[in-house]
């Protein structure tokens, strides 16, 4: 389909052009052309009916699905909720203590709500044992330190949207401090490494 498919009146005017200029006074041609005047009248009627139908449908209580539909959708979502991975917080001779990534994310997201100008988005959390951390980049000298009491080391990777116009470094530092306080207060382990990515700006 191409532009030449746009219907034209017998006088050559395209319907598209008449529609686009409906709110303007008729041109000299349109003022003396019967076909254009008739088309303008019809299209004005359509424009009004369109606006009226749009508003009517928007506020029409009958044009909504019944509440059972919402529940059915959410039931499916609940039944098929993607299981988040579990993070090992603590291991003893009598068993292990784990927390779901989702539960830990909710603590992090709640902490983020206290920082104006930040909307938290996706959150990924990994845990490495202190031994892994110390044997890697965190301990390049390779000292043979004991690791048994150092506990797990969390790696939080949080993506956020920031309000346009804020001081991003300062705000993100404040966010990192807030998360750094919330994790030990919430689950009793230190926050470890908190990587924050500002992936979008939103208009205030």
């Amino acid at each position: 389909m191409a532009l030449e498919d746009i219907p034209r009146l017998g006088c050559g005017r395209s319907i598209d052009r008449i529609w686009a200029t409906l709110n303007q006074p008729p041109t000299a041609h349109e003022a003396q052309c019967d076909q254009c005047q008739a088309a303008r009248t019809r299209l004005k009627g359509l424009s009004e009916a369109t606006r009226s139908l749009r508003e009517g449908d928007l506020h029409n209580p009958a044009l909504k699905p019944r509440p059972g539909v919402t529940n059915a959708i959410l039931d499916v979502a609940r039944a098929e909720v993607r299981r988040s991975k579990r993070i090992l917080l603590h291991r003893t001779d009598n068993g292990t203590t784990e927390i779901s990534e989702q539960a830990l994310s909710s603590i992090i997201r709640f902490a983020a709500t206290t920082i104006p100008g930040i909307h938290s988005r996706r959150c990924r959390i990994e845990i490495r044992s202190a031994a892994d951390s110390l044997s890697g980049e965190d301990n390049p000298t390779g000292n043979s330190r004991t690791t048994t009491n150092a506990g797990p080391h969390l790696f939080v990777n949080l993506r956020v949207a920031a309000a346009a116009g804020i001081d991003i470094p300062r705000t993100v530092d404040a966010l990192r401090r807030e998360i750094g306080n919330a994790i030990p207060a919430g689950v009793g382990i230190s926050a470890g490494t908190i990587n924050i990515t500002v992936e979008d700006l939103y208009d205030v």
Partner: protein, 200 residues
Amino acid sequence: MDDHGPGFEAEPDLDEGSIVARAQDGDLAAFEHLVITYQDRVFRLAYRMLNDRGQAEDIVQETLTTSWHGLHMLADVDAFGGWIYRLATNKCLDLLRKRSTRAENVTNPDDIRSVTETGTTRAAAGTDPAHEAEWSAQQDGLTAVLNTLPPAQRACWLLREMHGRTYAEIGATLKISPTAVRGTLARARHQIAEGMSQWR
């Protein structure tokens, strides 16, 4: 329900992209917010496409359930709305194709009557009764002629005029170029305006 749905009392100005991103992480409260935001829009589109309440509800349920399953694959969180409209429109067109292979389109007159009586005259409420009646007749004419358009053309008109979607997005949905969307819309307006002038 307020504008922000459940679960976001602490963040009343949360942008949709952030809500979509959280739903991608499996956050049910975020997904519920999206369901509540889009279910009425999808219903209005599907109802005007299909003229059948039950089938329009099925489209709402299928569209939003499909979105939950595919959400993690959505690369651009800001494209969620366009994606939902694309899913819903194509489900409606599929259903109409199946219908046309079975029988003629059937419009349930009770459905049309109930919708017309309860809502579509509201925009003119408060005006004099004669004007109101004329207004309602105009809308009845519009919906009657709309239902005579081929399904893809009707979808194009509804997506643009009732839902304000962009030419690019409508083109992606209907697998035509934005230029072809413009042409389709112009023909739809011409046919509807002509049809309305003869409708009584």
